[in-house]
Every structure is written in C-alpha cells, then in structure tokens.
C-alpha cells in the first residue's frame, strides 16, 4: 500500500441543493429494540450530506491542520461566489463554507442546508470550486487537490465547453469523485427504476464523458459510498526515525577496542488507541430560562422546547483534614469509599498553591518540592550488555512495544556494522541484551534485540525486558505433582488427568490445528489467524460510534448500525475446524466431565472478580445472591419502562429525520427469543445497569440472552447477536448481502441456520412461515453451490427434530417443508457430485428423509 502523504490536502465538496434534492426518500435504519423494521424518511439532500459529513468528520478525527476543506453549494437561490462578483455569471452557486481546517462548526453549518426552489449547474459549481481551491493554495504545488461532487443529476447541465473544465482539472492534478444519488451502479447491479430520461442523460454525461476526460476520477452511487465509509480502515503512520547510538565496550577510554555505531530507531508496533470521547450532561434549566421558554411558547406555538447539553471539564480539588488526628486513627484504618465521602464534608478545601509536593514513606512524609529527586545520571545510547542464546529467551518477558534499530541510512559504515552483527547473531542463534537510554538523563530500559534480515536491509528488533523489580514472583502449587498429608506423591486425584483424559486432549489439540484452517483467494488451504488482518474491534467500533453521533442528530431515531463483520473475524474459531473436531470435543466433554459450580460469576457487580483468600466463603455467597436479586429487580423494572422509540415531532431542521414505524405486527411480534423456554434454562445472569437515563429505552441493551453457541451476549441490537452476521429482522437480506462479501460463507451459512431455527421455533412464527421457507430454499442452494453441504446435512436433521419433538416446536412448519419435498431434503452424494462437492448421504436417504 502506497503511503500517501497525510494532510497537505484541500478537498472541495460541491453539493447540489437544487429543488430536486428536496425530494424525500426512505432510508432503512438498524432494527428497533424489538426487531421491528425501521425506516427514516429524509430528503436526498439530508442523505447526501451524511456522506459529506462522514468525510469531514474523518478529517476532524485525524486532526491535521493541513487537511482542509471547503464547501460549494449549487442550486442556491442566491448567488455568492468570487467569479460571479468579478465577472458575473455562475448563478446560483454559493461559496458556502470557505476553505479551512474543518471543525464541529463545519458540521453544524452543513446541518443548516436546505433544498432550494431553483436549480444550479454542477459544472459551474466545479469551476468555482477549482478556482477557490487554486486561489487558496497559490503556488503550493505539493498539496493534494480533491473535488467531491455530490448531486442527484436531476438539474440541467450546461454541456457547452465542459472539456475545458476537465482539462483544467487535469492540469491541476485534481482527483475528482462524483457521488450520485440513485445513480446506476454496475458492480452492485443497482439500477434506478423509472429513472427520468433527463437524469439518464445527465448521469450518462457525467460517467462516460466528463469522468472519462478527467484522469483521476471515480463515479459512484451514494448508497455504495455511504457503505464504504463504514469499512474499517487501517491507517499505518510512518514511524519517525529517532537518532541514537549503539555502544559496544568502553568508548571513552579504550576507543580502539570499542565501537559506537550511529543508529536510527523507530516503532515497529505501537498501540493505536481510539480518540477519547468528551463528557456531557444535561444542564438543568434555570427558573428564568423556563419562564422565557414559556413566554416564547405562548407567542409562537411552533417554538420547540430545547435541551442543553454542556460539555464537562474535569476539576480537581484538594481537601485536608485539619482536625486533631489522634482519635480518628483507629477508624481511618477501616475506612471505605462511603466514609471517604462523608469525611470530605468535615474537611477543609485547600488551594493547589498552598500544597507541597512530597512522597509517603510509611506514615512519615518526605517533602520533595520538585516533584522528584535528582535523576540518575545517564548517557544517551544503547549499551550492549552481551548476547544470550535464542533458546534461553523467554517470550513472556517481552513487556512492551517493539522498535526497529537501523544503521544510520546515510552512513554506510554504520549500516555495514549493524549488518555484520545481525548476520553473525542470526548465524549463531543469539539475541543481544542492551540497556537503552533515549536521551541524557532519561531512565534506562533493559531489552533484548533480535536480528532481522530483510531482503535488502538488515536491522535489529528491540523489545523491552523486565527489571528485577518488574517481576512478581508468586508461587503456585504444582499441577503435575500432588502430595498427601504424609508428604507422599499422589498419582491419582481428581486434579490429575488420567491416561484416557490425556489422550482425549491430544486428539482435541490435533483437531483444533489452525495451520490449514483458512483459505486464500485461490481457495488454497492456508494458515488461519493473521495479526495483519485483525482489526482492533474496540478501536473501530468506537470510531464508528463517534462518527455516527457526529453525523446524526438523534441516536434514538437513528441508532448506530451494527459493527462491520470484519471486526468480528477472529471472535470464533473457524467453523469448519470446529465441525470436524466435534467428535473429539464431545469425547473431551464426556471424559473430563467438568461440572459447572453453583457459584456463577457475578459479572453484574462493578467490583472486579477478585477472590481473596481472606473473604469468608459464606459472606461471598450472600453478597452474590444479593447482587443477583437486585439485578433481577432492575430487569423487571426495565421491561416496564421499555418504551417504543420516540417518534418525535417532525422538524424543519436539516439532519432531522422523520421516523416511519413500519407496522411491526401486534406486540406479540416483539417477543423475542429471550422468552423462549429453552433459552431460559441456561440464561445468563442479568447484568446490572445504572439507572436509566431520561432517554428512551432504546439505548439500553437487551436482557442477557443466550444464543445458539451458548455465548452470553449483550448488544444494543437485540435482533442481531453480536457475533452474528445475520439478524432476525431481515435474515434473507442479511444473508444475501453478506454472501456478496465472499469470504464469510461458512459463517453466514452457520448464522442463517441458527436464525432460521430460532425464528421458526419462536412463538407466532406462522406469520413468517413464507419468509422462512424462502430462507430455507436459498440456504440450501447456497450450501450446495458453496461446498457447505455438510452444514446443510447436519442442520436439517437437527432442525427436523426441533420442529417435531421439542416443545412447543413447530410441526406445522415442518409439514410445509415436507410438502415442498425432495428439493428441500438432505443433499445427496449424487447432487453433491454434480456441484463438485461430496456428501455422505445417499439419494435414497435423501428421499426418505422427508417422509
């Protein structure tokens, strides 16, 4: 991947606000709290602005001053642009937001955009944009120039002289992206129905003439573009090279025998943390404000009640207990958190200026006004301590981020010196031990260096090692050797595995081998699990959440869509492996016979799950029980409080979308699997939650539920379990869209099977019978074509059994399956062969199965 120079870019957004952009459209939202489908009605403009805001939010997020943008609108009722002022023409084009580094204010300004009653010309607007960009950049030739045109293509385009504009774009090396509302898209096969003829002409012009003429151009459909922005995107910043020196021996007095190698160091791994969110709270209204509000309401009925959220700032205060300490000493020892709170009240607040810095030495205090003692005098450089055999290297000691160490790239001697050491180390199988000081007077760090031989360059990799102080030497009883009271070695004990158990485990470890569990693009078996493909799920999810709330106005009516499936890639072992290992797993379950104790882990409590030697067991149980009951109560309350998402009043503001609640059937539909009898048996402990906020219950996670894999899960989207790609709301849609991705077939098939079963066995399933039959048909077809035959043949008998034998089951549904007959039965060997797969089911078995 070529590393583009980050920043140093001016992006012009050319946004169509013509009359036609005011047409409304229905946009699908993530399912509601009870799985009902939800849609928002918004204008083309609002929808298109989401894309622009995402792009701008990305710039804000990265926080580069040199990442600038400007917004030009066309189809505006007024005209306000430089070219018009100077030369006239270019009507209905407005320089809406001047070029600058975007901020939250930029986003807010975009929210104020409204569709107009007129039309404007996109080519005119582009010329204005390019002119403004060029003027802004002046002679800064190295900056990247980008133009984004967002339009529905329904306004008239002046087709005269467009070639000159395209030429200008090429001259200035501008990258053009055209994002069209409801433009046809060959790749996704989207074609707008009833497309007006003039739009077809416009679209055609933009695609086949204008974009063809611009060297660096892309044209696409808005839906696709919006999907692409939620794709996790790994930004690998270039590591900065820091200069340092590698010292071997005594370089001060024995120079001819000692060596100083000029080196550069830089990061090889570095934890990428998500940007932190800001904290807010609702600001209560003062009496005066309420009065004012009341007054204005009286005057103007349309006036809406507003809520103010204030951004919070951390404040640190210092208190001191000036009372005589003697009598308090005893109590202080057993103080708890609450005591602390009440104690604060008796204390006196002190200003920071009055305080003295110092350290505690037991109960005595050592003042140290500087905040630290003189530091250990150290000299910048990496001192070589010696070499250690690679075999003696203890991987678990590696305690931090890895660094590259290079010979100075401008100094061949340094490079040769490093290269000779690296090669010799590699040959001998040793690692180097070093002591690294990043600058004079900085604290030293110990670490080991490993030789790294790239094709054309040699370097060392450094990882920090613990000092003596960093190791905790806890003792643990031996697992292999148990002794009885007499001090004799015990050979049989419930803690010790038997021969049979050891064999079962050996088989399990073999079966769960990952070396051939993955597939590459050419369908060859390859190793599964690669750190280079693993996105940090929290990082990207939090980023997605941050972008989402920057772009939408209300999280209740426009909740965060589910995480991108790529984030969940390594959440479960590969299904094929697990399927193949099923026998050995069952054997292990039987042989090891693990009994789940009655003490369930109380995840609900905020106290971490420490178990202390000194807590009397009885007390522990009592608290846990309490916690549990409490949590249950909360849940009951939750259900009562559960409200439909507020369908707030329609507003005139942009970015405010009206929610259309599709009839979700009667309330019975809202009963989901949580209430399924089977699920209740191993229902996980409910999670204790803080008091509900004065916001609708949509924000609250579903009750703990147990999905097919027995995982306790919790998510803001109850209809789609967090580790599933397919939700219960629109399984077929999810199924199809995920299949297009190609690389998740196994997972999709697995999830689909699970969802079908859940829906069919849930109460009031008959309403969805037809849909489920479609799902089954399509699932079978995919299984047959995509070599998931075993998955189908395993699923179907199980499904049959559940339908017929379980209670309540769904015999009616099964009879529908039987009516369809052979084409929904097991996949036979004959059928499989035709499609290049294999099956252990014979044709006659397949025929008999549905009888």
């Amino acid at each position: 991947m070529a590393v583009e120079r980050a920043g140093y870019t001016v992006t012009m957004f050319v946004v169509d606000v013509s009359k036609s952009m005011g047409a409304t459209r229905t946009v699908e939202l993530p399912p509601g709290p009870n799985g009902e489908q939800r849609f928002a009605e918004m204008t083309h403009l609002q929808y298109a602005l989401q894309y622009v805001k995402f792009k701008i939010q990305d710039m804000i997020y990265n926080g580069r001053k040199t990442d600038q943008c400007g917004v030009i609108t066309f189809g505006t009722e007024e005209t306000d642009n430089q070219i018009n002022t100077q030369h006239g023409g270019y009507e209905s084009v407005t320089e809406y937001i001047p070029i600058g580094t975007p901020s939250a204010a930029t986003l807010r300004k975009l929210d104020e955009l409204e569709p107009s009653e007129v039309f404007g010309d996109p080519i005119d607007a582009m010329i204005v944009a390019v002119e403004a960009q060029n003027k802004h950049l002046g002679n800064k030739k190295t900056w990247t120039r980008k133009v984004f045109l967002v339009t529905d293509g329904e306004g008239p385009i002046e087709l005269e002289d467009w070639e000159a504009t395209a030429k200008k774009l090429n001259e200035l090396n501008i990258a053009l992206t055209v994002v069209g509302v409801d433009f046809d898209d060959e790749e996704s096969g989207y074609a707008q129905v009833n497309k007006p003829e003039f739009k077809r002409v416009n679209e055609n012009f933009l695609r086949t003439q204008f974009c063809e003429a611009v060297n660096d151009s892309v044209i696409g459909n808005l839906d696709e573009a919006l999907q692409n922005v939620s794709q996790p995107d790994v930004k690998t910043p270039r590591s900065t090279l820091m200069q340092n020196v590698l010292r071997i021996g005594d370089v001060d007095t024995r120079t001819d025998e000692a060596m100083e190698i000029l080196i550069k160091t830089c990061k090889c791994t570095s934890i990428n943390r998500p940007k932190s969110f800001k904290k807010f709270a609702i600001r209560p209204k003062t009496t005066r404000e309420e009065e004012l509000e009341q007054q204005s309401m009286d005057v103007d009925d349309e006036k809406e009640v507003t809520i103010t959220y204030a951004q919070l700032k951390a404040r640190t205060e210092y208190y001191v207990d000036k009372s005589d300490k003697k009598d308090e000493e005893e109590e202080e020892k057993v103080k708890t958190e609450e005591d602390e709170e009440t104690r604060l009240e008796d204390m006196e607040k002190v200003e920071k200026e009055e305080l003295i810095r110092g350290f505690k030495y037991g109960t005595s205090y050592v003042p140290c006004p500087e905040g630290q003692f003189p530091k250990l005098p150290t000299k910048k450089g990496i001192d070589l301590i010696g070499f250690i055999p690679e075999k003696k290297f203890r991987r678990e000691y590696s305690m931090g981020e890895v660094q590259y160490i290079w010979g100075n790239p401008d100094n061949p001697t340094a490079q040769c010196a490093i290269s000779s050491i690296v090669q010799a180390m590699y040959e001998k199988g040793v690692l180097a031990v070093g002591r690294w000081v990043t600058g004079d007077g900085r604290d030293p760090k110990m670490g080991v260096m490993s030789p790294a031989l790239f094709e054309k360059v040699h370097c060392l990799l450094w990882v920090p090692m613990p000092f003596a102080d960093d190791l905790r030497k806890y003792t643990f009883p031996s697992l292999n050797e148990l002794r009885n009271k007499k001090g004799e070695i015990v050979t049989e004990h419930p803690y010790l595995p038997t021969e049979t158990q050891l064999e079962a485990m050996d088989d399990f470890v073999d079966a769960m081998d990952l070396m051939e569990a993955g597939r590459d693009e050419n369908d060859n078996r390859v190793e599964w699990l690669d750190t280079r493909d693993s996105y940090n799920p929290s990082f990207h999810r939090l980023k997605q959440a941050m972008f989402h709330c920057a772009v939408v106005a209300d999280l209740d009516t426009n909740p965060l869509p589910p995480p991108h499936p790529d984030l969940l890639r390594y959440f479960e072992p590969p299904r094929k492996i697990v399927k193949k290992a099923r026998g050995t797993i069952d054997n292990c379950i039987k042989t090891f016979n693990i009994k789940h104790g009655n003490i369930k882990l109380s995840f609900g409590s905020f106290i971490p799950l420490f178990t202390f030697a000194l807590i009397v067991p009885k007390v522990v149980k009592a608290t846990r029980k309490d916690g549990h009951n409490h949590a249950n109560d909360d849940d009951d309350e939750m259900l009562l409080l559960d409200r439909q998402p507020s369908t707030s009043k329609q507003s005139h503001s942009a970015s405010q979308a009206k929610i259309v609640q599709k009839p979700a059937g009667n309330d019975s539909e809202t009963e989901d699997d949580d209430d399924d009898g089977e699920m209740l048996i191993d229902k996980a402990e409910p999670v204790k939650r803080p008091n509900p906020l004065p916001t609708p219950a949509r924000s609250l996670p579903s009750l703990s539920q147990t999905d097919q894999d027995g995982d306790e899960s919790m998510d803001v989207d109850p209809q789609r379990d967090p580790d599933r790609l397919i939700g219960r709301t629109d399984p077929l849609g999810d199924f199809r869209s995920n299949l297009e991705r190609g690389d998740v077939v196994t997972k999709v098939v697995e999830d689909m099977s699970a969802v079908i079963q859940e829906v069919v066995l849930a109460p009031f399933a008959s309403r969805r019978s037809k849909e489920m039959m479609d799902c089954l048909t399509e699932l079978r077809e995919v299984c047959l074509k995509e070599d998931e035959i075993d998955a189908w043949n395993t699923f179907l008998p199980e499904f049959k059994r559940k339908c017929i034998e379980s209670s309540p089951g769904n015999k009616e549904f099964w009879s529908r399956v039987q009516k369809v007959g052979r084409s929904l039965s097991l996949i036979s060997d004959k059928e499989a062969k035709k499609n290049g797969g294999t099956s252990t089911v014979s044709e006659s078995q397949a025929l008999e199965f549905l009888d």
Binding site: A105, G249, Y404, C416, S419, G487, L514, C549, D556, K649
Partner: protein
C-alpha cells in the same frame, strides 16, 4: 497513585475509565513476623558473607524483616507490619501501649501498625548494636528455659493482629523457627496448636512458615508442622484442596531467607477470574495474574503544612459544568464528539452570552450522546469477560515482534468449574508434547477490549522458580503494526560478519536474560534518596551502584582484541567508507555527487578548508553522523569542526 496500586491494574486508564478502582485502595497487607528466640536461634555462628563476623539466625531473621520493611514502606505505604518474638523472657516495658495482654514468654517488639521512618530506624539501630556486640540480641531477648506452647504463640498472633490490623486487610503471619518438633512428648500441646491455628484461620489469617535448617539441625516438616498446618490450607486459596499440603518452606541457607520472603512479600492477587471456553460446552475456570508488570516510581502526593505536621491532601476529581460551576454525578454523564464553543447564532440563547463551556442544544426528545452502558458495549462489542480458544499452531508462529504489552499468567480455578485443574493440566501436557501454542480471543475484564492472545505454556521448572501454567500474550492488531520505513541498506560482507561473530562468541551470557541481575537503577536511585531523606541522612550519589551498566572491563578482557580486528575490517570495507545517500532516501537527484568521505572531511579540517565544501555536502555529512542539519553554512561548519575535534 502509589505504584503499589499499579500492580493490581491490567490495563491502561482508558480501558478502566468506567471502572471503579476504589476497591484496590481499600486493600492492605498486614504482615506479622513471628520469630523464635530459642537458644539455637540465638546461637552465634560465623557469618557466611563475612567469616570474621559472628551472626545468629535471629539476627538474620530480623535483618530480613528490616530489609522487607524498607522495601514495603515505599511500595505499599499503607501496609502494616509487626514483630512478635517468642521463647523469650523479655517482658513488655510499660512505655508501650498495647491493647491486649499477650501470653507469657512472648514479646511484642513492634506492634502492628503502619511503618514510618522512626520504626524502621529503631530496628536498624538494634541490628547495628547486635553487629557491634554479637551478644546484644541475647541480652535484649533472653531465651526461656523451656519452649512455649505453639498454641500460645498462635493465640498471641491472633490477639496482636486483632488489635492492630484493619478488618479488610489481608493478614499474614511469617513464622520463622528452626525447631521442627517443639512438643515431642505432648499430644495435648499438638492438638492445642492445631485448634489455635484453626482460630487464626477463621479470623482470616494465613500462616506462611519459613523453616530454617542447618546441616547439624535438619528440619523435618512431617514431625510436627505438616499435620497442624493442614488446617490452614483452606484459607490459603479458595480452591486449595485440604488434602494436599500447603506450600511450606524449608530454608537450608540462612542467606536465602530474604529471597524466600521476597517470593511471599506480595500477597498473591488475581486480576481476574473468568471462564475459559475450549470449545462449546467445554469450559474451565481460570484465574489471571500479572507476573510481569512495569514497576514505576510512586507519583508524588500533595501535602499541607499544618505547622506541627504535614497532612496529605485528599484529591477529589469531578466533572464540572463550567458555566454553572456544578458538579455532575457520574451516572448522568453521557459521551460524544466534541462540540464547538459558542452556540450557532441561529439559536437564541441570550442567556449564554458569556459561556465558557461548549454546549449542544437539541430539541426535546432528541438524544445526541451515548450513555455509559452503550460506551461499554462499543468497547467490548457485547462480549462478557472470558477467554475463548481459537485453535493451535506451531510455536514458531509467534514472532518476536508480535508484542505490544506485557503478558499475563493464567492458572486453573476449581471453584466455578470442577475439573478445571485436570483439564488444564491435560491441555498443558498435550501442548508440550505437540510443541504448539494456543490462540484465544479474550475479554479479561468488564470494560476491556476484546484482544487476541497467544497462549504460551510454562513448563515446570526444576528449581520450582517458575510456576506451571499458561502465559497469555496480547497480540498486536493490524492497527498497531508499523511497516519498516527503510527498505534498503548496505549489507556486510561475509568476512566482516565472521569478524563480528568472533567477538560475539566471547560475549555470550549462557544463562540468558535473568531479570534478577538487573534491578531498575532509576527506581533504586529514587528509593535510596527517599529513604535517606526519610531518615534525615545525607544521600551520597557516588555510592550508588548501577547494576545495569555493561561490564566493559569484562568485555574488553574477553573480546577487546577481536573487537579491534572487527573495527579494522569495517574501516577497510570499501562500501563502508563513503558517505553516500541510500536509494530511497528523499534526497534530490545527483546526491551522489555531494557525498564526501570521512577522510576528506578530516583532511579539510586539518588544513582549515572546511568552508570549501558545499552546503549540501556538509548537510549530507552531518546527516550521516547523526548531527543536526539545521542552520546556515557557518553553523554547519562549526558542527563539523566540533565533530572532527572529538573523532
């Protein structure tokens, strides 16, 4: 926050943002040293470190206690200590206040309490005078005629701890004795020892024995202690099996006492206790510990000078609405993107004319921000704490560079899943046999990020230093991996490599990297100054020894000549002498013409004609020597001159 608290934290602040840490602060350690003063403990014997001096077991025990206290006073300033001596006729002097009477033949040298400089200094003084006069300890603590009943010793421990220790603390007794059979003839006394020990256990006190044995006086645990310490086992760890003997320590070399105490110095605290799912319906319980964690200097605290004493200021941090100066309760905080300072002019908020805080005004019913629970679900992706096995791969799939954070250690936990230990052990054995490592996805705590871990097994060590179990190593995500910025460079010739190998051969440390050899010098330097300051002594920085510095004398003695040969070969290497820009560096074309060799530079320096070089040439030279390239030509020449003077 004191470093002591850091030990208990797995993750960085951000991950713990919503976590309540007050729990840790409430936990304190209490250690009561309970030391035998019998004649054999007082018996003078040659000091193993210094043959000319005489020492005793009691001296060694007190010395170890003092050293431990000196460490703990810094790392855990809230912890309490006490020293109880038994088998001595010394009685309590009136001056000390004490809650309860203790049994006869026992002397509470240091009542349980938080440490302070004077308390430690008192002990140091006692040890000093014992060094001057080896009989000092016998004078101070004259031994009793006959041994006191161990039952009385345990009862006294119980009383002392009850009086002095906070209820919530972890309480331990370090029992130091060299008598393996205190009551050979009395069954009665043995039973009473057992019952009093049970009482102690009921009170939540763990007894950690340190048994001293010598060649002439071996220590047979089976004679007395193995049966009575049994009862103590069930509080040791909630999953310990009473039928298996708790670990007891017999020390054959008295010098080892301190290092043995170090092992137990810190209460073993689990960071998490979570299920480990090997496969569906195949789950065991594991506890996690941090065995490798960076130990930092404690941060300074703020004090207020009250005239007669210094008092720690309590720091309270709250979230504030600046305009209203009101503090917001944690449960009402919501999270979102930063908003801009002043509200847009379209909003008629005349009341906010001089607003300091950024605000966001929304219509009633709209919710622009996330609540804490949603934030948590974004962070964890809805996963509950637990590990889930993904599969196995050969050991070499875990690369050196696949690292971002320290590892954690997991050990089976029976109480929630009976059968965890045998399953865990079987897994460990299979993995040893098949030479594989495991991979797992894990969320270790309620608010932490799902992470992929490599599971590395720890085989049982012959020295029993390393516990058996698994290390789990957090792997970097694609987002954390940086590509190599340098793609090309000079490669050394085989001759040069062989010359390097020659000196590498001589400087290899066979034992590998042993952390114990490298105490953190910055930390020790800080502690030494803190201690000197607390004791009101002068700190002498010259006396400080940094053990992490390379042993250059040894390097030169063993490999000096070989290093010299390598250096000569390097200097002769034709590719190495020129200062040539490397391809790929962002220099302008024609850079090669600007390259100058070190020899040229030195020659020009000698005849004072450095100014004849072009600026680009000087810059290229500076860059190759890690020198700054800023400034004008005279700055560059100055810099090159300075360099020439040094080289």
């Amino acid at each position: 926050m004191a470093p002591y608290d850091d030990w208990n934290r797995v993750d960085d602040d951000e991950e713990d943002e919503l976590q309540d840490n007050s729990f840790y602060d409430a936990k304190r350690d209490v250690i009561l040293f309970c030391i035998d003063c019998s004649p054999s403990m007082l018996e003078l014997r040659p000091d193993p470190e210094d043959e000319s001096k005489m020492t005793s077991h009691l001296y060694a025990a007190l010395d170890s206690a003092m050293n431990l206290q000196k460490r703990k006073v810094i790392t855990g300033p809230n912890d309490s200590f006490g020293i109880l001596l038994f088998n001595t006729t010394r009685r309590l002097d009136k001056s000390r206040t004490q809650g309860s009477e203790i049994k006869k033949s026992m002397f509470l040298y240091q009542p349980i309490g938080p440490l302070s400089a004077p308390v430690i200094q008192e002990l140091i003084q006692l040890l000093h005078s014992a060094q001057e006069d080896p009989e000092e300890l016998r004078k101070q603590f004259p031994p009793t005629e006959s041994r006191v009943a161990m039952g009385d010793v345990f009862t006294s421990c119980n009383w002392v701890i009850r009086d002095g220790a906070p209820k919530t603390a972890t309480k331990r007794v370090f029992l130091i004795t060299d008598e393996d059979n205190p009551h050979p003839s009395s069954k009665q006394l043995k039973i009473s020892a057992q019952t009093t020990l049970e009482d102690l256990a009921q009170a939540g006190v763990v007894v950690e024995p340190f048994f001293i044995q010598t060649e002439t006086k071996p220590f047979d645990v089976a004679k007395f202690y193995s049966s009575i310490l049994q009862t103590n086992a069930f509080v040791d760890d909630d999953d310990s099996d009473p039928s298996v003997l708790s670990e007891s320590i017999s020390i054959s070399r008295i010098e080892d006492l301190l290092s043995q105490m170090r092992f137990r110095e810190v209460t073993k605290r689990a960071l998490f206790n979570i299920p480990f799912e090997l496969a569906k319906d195949f789950t065991i319980g594991v506890k996690g510990y941090g065995l490798v964690t960076e130990q930092k200097k404690g941060e300074y605290k703020y004090f207020v000078d009250l005239g007669d004493r210094l008092e720690v200021a309590i720091v309270k941090t709250g979230q504030l609405d600046e305009d209203r100066q009101t503090e917001i309760d944690k449960s009402n905080i919501v999270y979102g993107m930063e908003v801009v300072g002043a509200a847009a002019p379209s909003n008629d908020d005349d009341t906010e004319a001089d607003s300091m805080a950024a605000i966001k005004v929304v219509k009633a019913g709209q919710r622009p921000f996330y609540n804490a629970e949603e934030m948590r679900s974004f962070r964890t992706l809805g996963l509950e704490p637990g590990l889930k096995l993904l599969g196995f791969k050969p050991r070499d799939t875990l690369k050196f560079e696949d690292n971002v954070k320290h590892s954690l250690f997991i050990y089976p936990e029976e109480s929630s899943y009976a059968g965890s230990k045998r399953t865990f052990t079987a897994l460990l054995k299979s993995m040893i046999k098949k030479k594989v490592i495991g991979y797992a996805r894990g969320v270790l705590r309620r608010n932490s990020t799902p992470t992929i871990y490599a599971i590395l097994l720890q085989e049982e060590d012959v020295n029993e230093v390393d516990p058996t179990g698994f290390h789990i190593i957090p792997l970097p995500f694609a987002d954390d991996i940086r590509s190599a910025p340098i793609e090309e460079g000079y490669i050394a010739s085989d001759d040069l490599k062989d010359k390097a190998r020659a000196w590498i051969n001589k400087t290899t440390i066979k034992s590998g990297y042993v952390p114990d050899s490298y105490p953190n010098p910055a930390l020790a330097f800080h502690y030494a100054q803190l201690e000197a300051s607390a004791f009101r002594e002068e700190f002498n920085p010259d006396a400080f020894e940094d053990l992490t510095e390379p042993r250059v004398d040894l390097i030169h003695a063993k490999a000096g000549k070989l290093l010299k040969e390598w250096k000569i070969e390097l200097a002769n290497d034709h590719s190495a002498t020129m200062v040539v820009p490397v391809t790929g560096s962002k220099r302008k074309a024609g850079g090669a013409a600007e390259s100058i060799s070190v020899v040229e530079v030195k020659a020009r320096f000698e005849d004072g004609s450095l100014a004849k070089f072009k600026v680009d040439q000087l810059k290229a030279f500076c860059r190759s020597q890690n020198l700054s390239t800023s400034g004008n030509k005279s700055d560059l020449i100055q810099r090159v001159e300075d360099w020439c003077k040094l080289h």
